[in-house]
């Protein structure tokens, strides 16, 4: 991989992040005509208290001064204050980070089963396996992920009692070590399966069409002529070439899974970034929402950068240019 390629991709990621910062400021301070009022709506405040809050939330001065102050704050890792208890946004997000990483990580791994399914479906195009897998993925694609969550919660938790109805662990539990892990895993199982199921179809479709693209390539013909078994041709020659589109779409899907986590976490009261976003929307707690949006975007931009670099590593033609 050329250094120029890596640098170009990094600059692209940084420019996207800069765009998000400007967009974020623009939304909350300019599109939103009266930030002071919409932030403290419905709270009966004395004028001197209001002035103090304006100072604290950096709402005085010209828009340009506010923007400069906002960027300076960000560079110091300061995301402002949540309206709920006036705690620093960064602290609140820090507490919710781990549960979400755990949930989104495990559901992504589950959803990636779709890649294998897609390769097999594409390889045997038109077979019963292919039609079944394709129809199932269209079906899961058509359902809002949080609704799948509601149905599963109603069936497996409320009715059958197999899983707890929500939360990170049993309330009042003081278990530690292994038993705490098992308890959390038990709580995470259902939301992770729901999120995984909601996105397994997308991975499948992408992998399937990538496989179909490679089906007519000459090198597959050659491999068969050499007398390789069908299974081996698929694994050694077709799959490696079908891998490229899957890598770049994985990063895009990562953003979608994050989006899906917002509603799914709120269904299962999973104390992560998704539920925090849900609560911030409901509040409304605009400073919190602003911080969450910035953080989620940064995470997705980073995932895209990793995917781009991986793509360059897998396909030297891209990185060489």
């Amino acid at each position: 991989m050329r250094a120029g390629f890596v640098i170009r991709k990094c600059i692209g990621a940084v420019s996207t992040l800069a765009f998000v910062v400007v967009f974020n400021f623009f939304l909350f301070r300019i599109v939103n005509r009266d930030p002071v009022n919409s932030m403290f709506r419905g709270r009966n405040l004395k004028p001197e208290k209001l002035a103090e809050l304006r100072q604290k939330f950096n709402l005085d001065g010209s828009k340009w001064d506010q923007f400069v102050a906002y960027v300076r704050q960000l560079l110091h890792g300061d995301l402002g204050y949540s309206l709920k208890g006036f705690r620093p946004v960064a602290t609140v997000i820090g507490e919710t980070l781990w549960p979400t990483v755990l949930l989104v990580g495990s559901s992504t791994i589950l959803a990636m089963i779709g890649i294998t399914l897609g390769y097999r479906a594409g390889w045997r195009r038109g077979s019963t396996f292919d039609t079944t897998a394709t129809s199932m993925s269209m079906l899961t694609y058509s359902m809002p992920e949080f609704w799948i969550g509601m149905v599963f919660l109603g069936l497996f938790s409320a009715k059958l009692g197999w899983f707890p109805v929500g939360g990170l662990e049993d309330p009042g539990s003081n278990a530690t070590g292994l038993s705490q892990w098992i308890d959390q895993l038990h709580h995470m199982m259902l939301p992770a399966i729901v999120l995984g199921l909601a996105y397994v179809g997308e991975y499948m479709i992408v992998a399937r069409s990538a496989m179909i693209e490679t089906l007519n390539e000459d090198y597959l013909q050659l491999a068969r002529a050499k007398g390789m078994r069908d299974d081996e041709v698929r694994r050694r020659h077709a799959v490696p070439n079908a891998r490229l589109p899957v890598v770049s779409l994985s990063a895009i899907n990562f953003g979608f899974i994050f989006g899906g986590a917002i509603a799914v976490e709120s269904i299962f009261s999973w104390p992560g970034i998704g539920q925090a976003t849900y609560l911030a929307v409901r509040g409304p707690d605009l400073p919190m929402l602003q911080g969450l949006f910035l953080l989620i975007s940064a995470g997705v931009i980073l995932a895209n950068l990793v995917a781009d670099l991986l793509y360059g590593k897998l396909d030297p033609r891209v990185a060489g240019r």
């Binding site: 692209g12 420019s15 996207t16 765009f19 998000v20 967009f23 974020n24 939304l27 909350f28 599109v31 939103n32 919409s38 269209m138 079906l139 694609y141 058509s142 359902m143 809002p144 949080f146 609704w147 509601m150 149905v151 919660l153 109603g154 938790s157 409320a158 009715k159 109805v165 179909i212 895009i252 953003g255 979608f256 994050f258 989006g259 899906g260 917002i262 509603a263 709120s266 269904i267 976003t277 849900y278 929307v281 409901r282 409304p284 605009l286 929402l289 602003q290 969450l292 949006f293 989620i296 975007s297 997705v300 931009i301 895209n304």
Partner: protein, 306 residues
Amino acid sequence: MNVEVETESLASPWSIRWSRRRASTAEIARRIRRDRLAVVAVVVLVGFIVLAIVTPWISDRADFNAINTGDNPTNQSPNGDYLLGTDRYGRSVALQLIWGARVSLFVGLVATVLTIVIGVLVGLAAGFFGGWIDGLLMRITDWFLVIPFLPTAIVLASVLERSLWTVVLVIGITSWPSAARLVRSQVLSIRQRLYVDRARSLGAGRLHVVGRHILPNVTPLILASATLAVPISILTETTLSFLGLGDSTSISWGGMLDQAQQSSAVTAGHWWYYLPPGIAIMIVVLTFTIFGRALEEVLDPRLRAR
């Protein structure tokens, strides 16, 4: 073949154009008719659309007003009086379901039109002007493609006023980039074609080339991608309404799911409250997807060849 050409040359240019258009539309319809599943999807969709249009004549929206529901039983399971039971305010779930179709279809279709209009304008401008305009527009498109779709829609909807038009606007602003990319790549390939060169050498201006050669060529692909964008718009509207960012004065499927969640219908076992709206969304999204894919297969020669 020869005979056909001759009869065409005798007719006026207008009638040739119309007969060709009629023929190609008939061809598309014929190909779609061969796909059984697509036919079923179209029938279901037309059913939903008709239902959504006639709703105000077959039922009274006032039935949902608190003043009229005060005496109704609350949280009733389905029975003879209420086919799908009632919610916590005693409103009929079946009636809400019918009214909800209006919002989903309206937002789904209008937001898609907005998405496609923005996408086509950006894609045409980028592909046709090239140079720094292309560079700038594609940079912006990339930014919008990378930043996560739903969180962006959520923050946008949070700072704007709550209304159906806000939902439409938010979906339009967040989902145009893929249409823009599609149109741009098509324009780039079409403007290399010989007939565009010929038109230009005959003195055709930019507007003529775009209007007469490029736009008619990209229209089929735009149509197919628009049909596939409708389900995304419907799902986004559902999610925004579920999060409380929709129009609180109108009844929508996402709003019904929100109400169900707020009244803990899931843990209370009130399945008639949250199952029907979800199933309705699933059917509408599925039928649009099936129809859109069938259309894409017919209109996109690259897919047809396979």
